[in-house]
Symmetry: C2
């Protein structure tokens, strides 16, 4: 196997490992697990590491004209409790993240938006997971369409004043890591919106 | 199997599903995967859902006396790139999250702190993962101890002015979802520290 072609990392970073190979472990349809073998470029070290592979995800911050956020409530089987979140889901193969976000927004809540843009992207778990979660801001959202839930989806929707959403963050009422990421990336945008409204 | 004893959810939330049973799928040492069968309490619906089970995690925000944050750089096998993060790791069975955070801080960086407290907790992925990630603030941190890395750990440490850390969030230089969660919970604390410093 040839040496990694990647450039050296910056001086304050650790060296990159080289991937030697990958073995399937289990296919769980919404994700699979593989075992990857890596070699350290300098030390006499090799190791096997499990990686959870899944499609990229998108989460959408839907804002109405009167500055409320559209929140959804779902039963979540991982934690076995209900969770207040923003709409989101799995990006289809070849689908643009903004398009995927607007699709999920409409399917889950019946809301559509007049404009939308990518706010940023995060890695849900760099240690053991390979995918990216994109965060989309959807503005001037309103209820115009019918719901289209996936099998087993059941979603309660409410609109909440944006200040109150940030209270739900600090109180722990919103606890989904990736939803919190979206709100972190949205907070400078919200500060600008507030400043604009104050200066009117 | 008896019906769930949990109280009904609030009116604006969806009904809770009842767990009927759980089958092991694969054991990957740092996590395992099970298939859980659930029944909806009202509809004629049952379904099988994969759940990734793992121990609870802790991430620590280490602040020095001159208001720098201690950051660590590691190669991350999930995303196959280096990642700037705060120290953190797996909480041992029965271990207090604050104690675990201070232990990870010392092992990974050699820094110890004069005081520490829990800032909050998040769920890394409520849909498919069962665990919690706790966030600890460690103040007046300084380098006093020797490093104790786990096998295959290799960590570069630097201290960064706190304002610059928030720039690294907005620029995407810090992209680990759970690290971003910690910085979101820390931001009101940082605002208070800045106000106190300004008023001196």
């Amino acid at each position: 196997m040839s040496a990694s072609k990647r450039p050296d990392p910056p001086d304050d970073e650790v060296p990159y490992w080289e991937e030697l190979g990958s073995e399937p472990v289990v296919d769980c349809s919404i994700f699979d697990v593989v075992s990857k073998r890596f070699r350290h470029p300098l030390r006499e070290a090799e190791g096997d590491f499990y990686v959870i592979r899944t499609r990229d995800w998108v989460n959408v911050i839907p804002i109405t004209s009167n500055f409320e956020m559209v929140l959804v409530n779902q039963y979540r089987f991982g934690v076995q409790k209900n969770s207040w979140e923003i709409p989101g889901g799995v990006i289809e193969s070849g689908e643009d993240p903004v398009v995927a976000g607007l699709r999920e927004l409409q399917e889950e809540t019946g809301f559509t938006a007049e404009r939308a843009r990518l706010l940023g992207s995060v890695r849900p778990n760099p240690a053991i997971q390979n995918n990216t979660c994109h965060i989309v801001l959807a503005e001037k959202a309103s209820k115009t369409a019918d719901l289209r839930w996936d099998e087993h989806e059941e979603i309660s929707t409410k609109t909440v004043p944006i200040e109150r959403v940030f209270d739900m963050v600090q109180s722990g009422e919103i606890f989904h890591s990736l939803v919190l990421n979206a709100l972190l990336l949205f907070s400078p945008v919200w500060e600008k919106i507030q400043a604009r409204r104050r200066s009117r």
